[in-house]
Subunit: 201 residues, 2 copies
Amino acid sequence: MSQLSPATVARLPRYLRLLEENADTETVSSEFLARATRVTAANVRRDLAALGFQGTRGVGYSTAALAARIRRELGLDRRRKVGIIGAGNLGTALAGYTFLQKRGFEVAAIYDSDPRRIGTDTAGMRVRDVESMPEDVAAGVFDMAILAVPASAAQSVAEALVAAGIRSMLNFAPVRIEVPDHVAVRQVDLSHELQVLSYYG
Amino acid sequence: MSQLSPATVARLPRYLRLLEENADTETVSSEFLARATRVTAANVRRDLAALGFQGTRGVGYSTAALAARIRRELGLDRRRKVGIIGAGNLGTALAGYTFLQKRGFEVAAIYDSDPRRIGTDTAGMRVRDVESMPEDVAAGVFDMAILAVPASAAQSVAEALVAAGIRSMLNFAPVRIEVPDHVAVRQVDLSHELQVLSYYG
């Protein structure tokens, strides 16, 4: 894995989306990729050069080759298995998001700590006991986690995931969680989104 | 309302969060605000100058006055009323997020188009018929919308909201929606978040 800046990494999925949407085009230009990501074409060229990927002057980038390169860089050339922690309304909604499959993710398991939920079926899966999470991670059942737990539980669940060896998690709980440096967390912060929107009308 | 750049607007809620967390401190420095937002202190000063807010050299910014200024700028000095469209698992989960209240938002109504859901109770509210949305907006029931509908319904729901006069919406449906220029949309893009995370482990 190359060492890319967080800003570059955050743009790669957008380039990939665009390349996938234009899979029937042989080549794309940096200007074309720049439009969708609201950066300059020079920035696009720098991002892709950081991947060691060079376009051909006057021709552009090979759509298929660049898509494959970005997928490999993002670890999407193998299918990623996602574990959802929390089988309430949010976890159930996320488990049922079929479009994740199309983007290379498989929701492999869903967990809860509530005995009334454990063993029931939700979104076509049996809800597992959160206690079995560490052995499931060790067995390769999932390798990325989505936290759909109450704010009060988020930190302890994150710590259990880190202890089990998970290194990337998406947090829906409305609280900042603290993790070691080698673990990546992205936060879906609903109130931040609404506060930004509030400016506009 | 001043004309702020989108990047500045997106940072204001982060400054506000920090100011609220440090409400017992009389003043804060631009360096302090810069840390939480991963920009430079010079950038913070430019952002706040764009609000017409000046710090005092060697002292910093008044915590209370700056928080009030940002709240006013973001339209959070009045309580914002949010309508959730879609009373499935996701809509229900969002309607139950009590922390939104603390951030100045009131979930005022939830809507669905499914006759089996309309009139039932969810998260302490009666699910309304999506057909009544336009008259509810006209009556001031809500002024911001969250779309928690299937991808196939998102565009038509967005258009109905725009026609009703809504100018800001948060879209959870996994599809890009097209709106006129005067309408602000933010997209919670789960697969984008997971693809970024996938890079890290």
